[in-house]
């Protein structure tokens, strides 16, 4: 029998690095395990579209495989895809990116975020992260050797980041702010004017803006503002985008980073030694999506919008205060009126009525007192979930 020498080290040294140990395990793991053992659960805990990828996109990927396009691509990604992407971004947001030097195809925004952090952070550099936010933000900063500075956002301000609150968190070591609007988990969207105020702070204190815009196409009232389209911001912004949410392509794992050449070059350096390139067939699918997927996006967004209204009205009617989410596909009701913690609420709702939601504290301290409900599920399921929640709440309140 072989033994692992390290495990028996007399110094009792841990196998796992201090840095990885310092990261909290995902809060939703527990719910995942609970759910796996239950039947007849309606899940509002999902984090992806309920559509399969449109067939023409799948077919394009199959065709590319049949033609034998199964090799490595350029580290930056297929040039054709970057060219199409450059046209797409210029057309939508009016920002010109050089497809040869300012765009990088990544394995989802997840990789893009990791690359961005590794490319810009030195040990001890600080990144300001709004709370609540997507679960990867803080760990990615920590893994890259940076320090997270949380800035609170709240229901009273529709979970938008206020420039004053941001400015309070700035220190000489602040390297960047990490924005994610439209927001997972809150559905908050920031308007052009509100983002311009953030840009002004970034300019004045000279830090970078990493803008996760994976939900850019899922905006319901008004238009999405690409952060780099703000005056003077292209130079100091890393835009992270992708195909998962807009084209229902989560499993393909294709995203991109758009930034000035110096930053993309640095991100590419990490990318080439870790990922080499994003999967070729998935890149071909993404190319098809950009060229011919506009109608799909339009239809899906129309449909999300209808379900969004049903969910938000339903939650408010239940007495759970819910601000109107203007983007993504989540509602983030306050459950404060029940007196329960987010986790207790989610756990009891799951056990008693078999509805799964994600406790808000998963997304940060400021998410406490809320739960995340995804409305990317069928109308029947939404209605059934709402009526089960009504039962749950009436028992709770009686």
């Amino acid at each position: 029998m072989a033994t692992t020498p390290l495990a028996r080290s007399p110094r009792q040294r841990s196998i796992v690095s201090r840095r990885v140990r310092s990261i909290a395990p995902s809060g939703i793991r527990k719910f995942f395990d609970l759910l796996a053992s239950m039947d007849d659960v309606i899940s509002l805990g999902v984090g992806e579209p309920d559509y399969a990828t449109p067939w023409h996109i799948r077919e394009a990927a199959i065709y590319s495989i049949e033609k034998g396009q199964t090799s490595y691509t350029s580290n930056y990604g297929l040039l054709e895809l970057r060219q199409e992407l450059a046209r797409h971004i210029a057309g939508r947001y009016g920002v010109e990116y050089d497809p040869r030097a300012e765009l990088l195809i990544t394995v989802g925004v997840s990789e893009g975020l990791d690359l961005a952090m590794r490319a810009i952070l030195d040990p001890g550099d600080e990144v300001v992260v709004p709370d609540p936010c997507y679960v990867s933000y803080s760990p990615c900063v920590t893994l890259a050797g940076g320090l997270v500075t949380s800035v609170s956002t709240c229901l009273g301000n529709d979970f938008k980041l206020r420039p004053d609150d941001l400015e309070d968190k700035i220190s000489p070591r602040t390297k960047a702010v990490l924005l994610g609007y439209p927001s997972n988990p809150t559905g908050a969207v920031m308007s052009k004017e509100e983002l311009a105020a953030i840009a002004e702070v970034a300019e004045r204190h000279d830090f970078l803006v990493v803008s996760d815009e994976i939900y850019d196409r899922l905006v319901y009232d008004g238009e999405h503002t690409c952060f780099s389209s703000l005056p003077g911001m292209k130079e100091r912004t890393i835009v992270l985008g992708g195909f998962s949410k807009a084209y229902a392509m989560t499993g393909w794992r294709i995203g991109y980073a758009a930034a000035r050449a110096e930053i993309i070059e640095a991100m590419m350096k990490v990318h080439q030694y870790t990922l080499m390139c994003a999967p070729a067939m998935a890149q071909n699918a993404a190319l098809e999506a950009l060229r011919w997927g506009e109608e799909d996006v339009r239809e899906m967004v129309e449909d999300y919008n209808r379900r969004r209204r049903v969910m938000v009205k339903g939650l408010n009617d239940l007495g759970l205060q819910t601000f109107e989410p203007k983007g993504a596909f989540y509602a983030f009701p306050s459950i404060a009126s029940t007196g329960l913690s987010s986790e207790d609420f989610a756990e009891r709702l799951l056990f008693e009525e078999k509805v799964a939601v994600v406790p808000g504290n998963t997304f940060g301290r400021c998410g406490e007192g809320h739960v995340r409900c995804c409305y990317a599920t069928s109308l029947d399921q939404i209605n059934e979930a709402l009526s089960r929640m009504a039962c749950f709440l009436s028992k709770l309140r009686s």
Binding site: I28, F31, L35, S43, V46, G47, E302, R309, V310
Partner: protein, 160 residues
Amino acid sequence: MNLDILKILEKDARVEPDQIAVMTGLPVAQVKQEIAQAERERIILRYRTFVNWEKAGAEQVWALIEVRVAPQRGAGFDAIAERIYRFPEARSVYLVSGAYDLAVQVVGHTMKEVASFVSEKLASLDGVQGTTTHFLLKKYKEDGEIMEGTEDRSRLAIAP
């Protein structure tokens, strides 16, 4: 006419006006009024249920009939088309471009019944110059619905 209301009803005719109002952000009264108007103007023709009869065990025979006709002075193809679509056996009637003029879908209980409808009622009409009958062997997809088998989609029930 609000197209949004129609799109919702086309997908699922059971959605109640109250729900449509929430989905579209319109007042309930307006939704009801628009639906009533659409019914009146025959924009909404009918509310129907789409049944897979084969699965239900009912015998049905479908055929696509190509009909070549001589257009009539003053009435074009419309008069002959009307003569055809008056028959309940003709489930749809289209004027088409190409090698023939009218495409007619016919349904019956047996092949014999469909064949005799074509030969006795359709082919014998004044102005019909010829017909070609294609019996349907299998329906894969109809009206946007795949008849057999669906995609097995499973999502992570909980994801960040």
